[in-house]
Symmetry: C2
Subunit: 444 residues, 2 copies
Amino acid sequence: MKEQNISIVGSGLVGSLLAIYMAKRGHNVHVFDRRPDIRKMKVVQGKSINLAMSDRGWKGLEGAGIRKEIEKVALPMYGRLMHGMDSSLTYQPYGKEGQAIYSVSRGLLNQTLLNCASELPNVSFHFNHKCADVQLEHKKVVFEDNGEEKEYAYDRLLGTDGAFSAVRNRMMRLDRFNYSQSYLSHGYKELEIPANADGSHQMRKDCLHIWPRGEFMMIALPNPDGSFTCTLFMAFEGAVSFEKIKNPDDVHAFFNQYFPDAKALMPELIDDYFNHPTSSLVMVKCLPWNVGGDVCLLGDAAHAIVPFYGQGMNCGFEDCWEMNKILDETHEDWDMAFDQFSRERKPNGDAVLELALRNYIEMRDKTADPQFLLQKKIENWFSTQHPDKWLPLYSQVTFSDIPYHQALQNGLRQDEIMKEVLAIPDIEEVWNTPLVENKILSLL
Amino acid sequence: MKEQNISIVGSGLVGSLLAIYMAKRGHNVHVFDRRPDIRKMKVVQGKSINLAMSDRGWKGLEGAGIRKEIEKVALPMYGRLMHGMDSSLTYQPYGKEGQAIYSVSRGLLNQTLLNCASELPNVSFHFNHKCADVQLEHKKVVFEDNGEEKEYAYDRLLGTDGAFSAVRNRMMRLDRFNYSQSYLSHGYKELEIPANADGSHQMRKDCLHIWPRGEFMMIALPNPDGSFTCTLFMAFEGAVSFEKIKNPDDVHAFFNQYFPDAKALMPELIDDYFNHPTSSLVMVKCLPWNVGGDVCLLGDAAHAIVPFYGQGMNCGFEDCWEMNKILDETHEDWDMAFDQFSRERKPNGDAVLELALRNYIEMRDKTADPQFLLQKKIENWFSTQHPDKWLPLYSQVTFSDIPYHQALQNGLRQDEIMKEVLAIPDIEEVWNTPLVENKILSLL
């Protein structure tokens, strides 16, 4: 297969992993980024956003031969720990014994991926290169580098430049390019629970903490340094909202009312609250993802989603794995490969967005609902009896690589079945009896 | 009220009408356009796209005091004339006796509006000015004029630069700006039925001609010079589609099969078919339409729709009227006015898009359906008996200024009622009897 001159715009998580895949296929890879090399930047103190790596992410890393490098910096979380208004705790495992999602720092992960890519002789990085234009007809990409314009010719251009992709912006001007960007009415703010003096964690570090409060919620993910990164998700405007919290008294009152146990662990709460921005949450959809065999979008550039299923990075890494597989299957017929990738992957991009939106409702509202917790308990119990007949939706998304759109369909069907099961009289008492088992078997 | 320096980007139909409104309010108006002055360009032969002016359009013109100027160049169309596969004709009036929509040439209308605006001392035009950027924070708009960049300061910036608006493109980069562009899977091609040798029309000129064919259709609108502008709407790909028509033989076969009567009047059909582009149809939605009291979008820039209800221009002219009204009501509190315009007008922009999509199905499919024609006949009959109780949807949209979103709601309710009426036994026989009249009255 002919060596290609491949330009990748964006050296974030997806771009740097994709560079490794493309280089290992034997191509000449140039990776561009508008930002400086993050490996040479000071880490912004405590502001490492945390990600949750799950099976699809690991699969993507394994396909590029770098899973072991990342395992070293990942903390397992085996379940959700729900914090009630009265500080009571309820634990819900994510999957079967031993199954976990892994908290990793975005910064550390990106640095590790960049290091792995840099070790390959056929990968070059070009930082401080802001993509200014793509000359589709001449197959050249134009960058601004300190006010100077530079052109680079490419055989293939891969856009991994995120939710606000410059490559996609150029594609938007093509005839019949469908595009939408929409913002949630909810935003988020990062806060911190620091480590104990001895560097240990102030709460259990083997789970993801959730404070579900109906219309809003807070979550906390553990960091290796003993701290937790907390994220408050809430409406921008309305009865309980960011706009209503204007001064330190408001913050005290709000956290005393809704998050008293967390507040006791947050000595810098007031400073953090007012120093950290309230950020928005954007969703992006587009179609097609490619321009013939010349240009293709992957990751957030193709399908930016909201973070509530922890699948943004996982989906992006699976994109890389999928693209690599399709290039194998098509023997690098690039026209065919990019068309196939866009056509086959798009329904999964749409489905993971839908799943993520549904999970926001689930996390902030349903995890505090005894009926919901009972449903999950029954599903787990039945799934243990009949692992070939029932895989809970969360496990399909997180601990399998069943295509997202298939998982979403399965999940909708499971919900229908469970509606009937929860209607069984005294279900709280009989949930783990042959009666329920046979009922589910009859509905499948 | 304080004189404002108002920049309008886009000198098309909406921009030139809006300039008149703003100038008559006493402001200093600069209108910019990327194109040359169309009044100085050669008219592209026979390629005057036709528009159908109806009540909302006339209201917009009247509010600016220029209705009479436009009436001179408008041809009334009192109904639809459906052409069957067997060349049979079926006529359906648009409204009551004397009500009509008016065929006007886009070019001539735009020229007339530009002339009216140019007569006002406080309007200046700047052609060949391509909007390159809007510096929102400095309230300056930047244009490219022959490779040179020019900045203009504004107090208020109005974006009337159409479906591919540069002003809106700048707004897209703002946080929490929602946007979508989506294309129909159908496209269109313009064709022509020329005038007779004596300059008269080859078909009735007092109606809009439709060749409904289920999944596709052709329409024809009369021009004052005796010709008709025909538009073929059809899928880009699929069983019957533009991609399937590759050579003159295909065109002959297709038109012989589906449009034999029209074909007989189209001597240049083959040349027209292959010389004219197959164009796409885009729909644009966004929110908000304004940036505080600084910038506001009107017309297609805010809500580009498909052409099937003939409401694109009418809605844009109503936008101008509405903005003028709100500026009166708010005593030119620009922040309040732009917010109110965006908030109140947006549901109407969404509704007219929905109405236009529904009308495509209606025109290409239902106008050939006897049940549909019967329904319309009953509605017209009942409406004549009880004009205060029933205004057909088409009349609400076309011959009234009931807000579009209200009209859409009313129309959905009317469809529900008519479903029951059409289920009356022997409705074909009893349609205009007290039985039906009382049935409708009981359902209202």
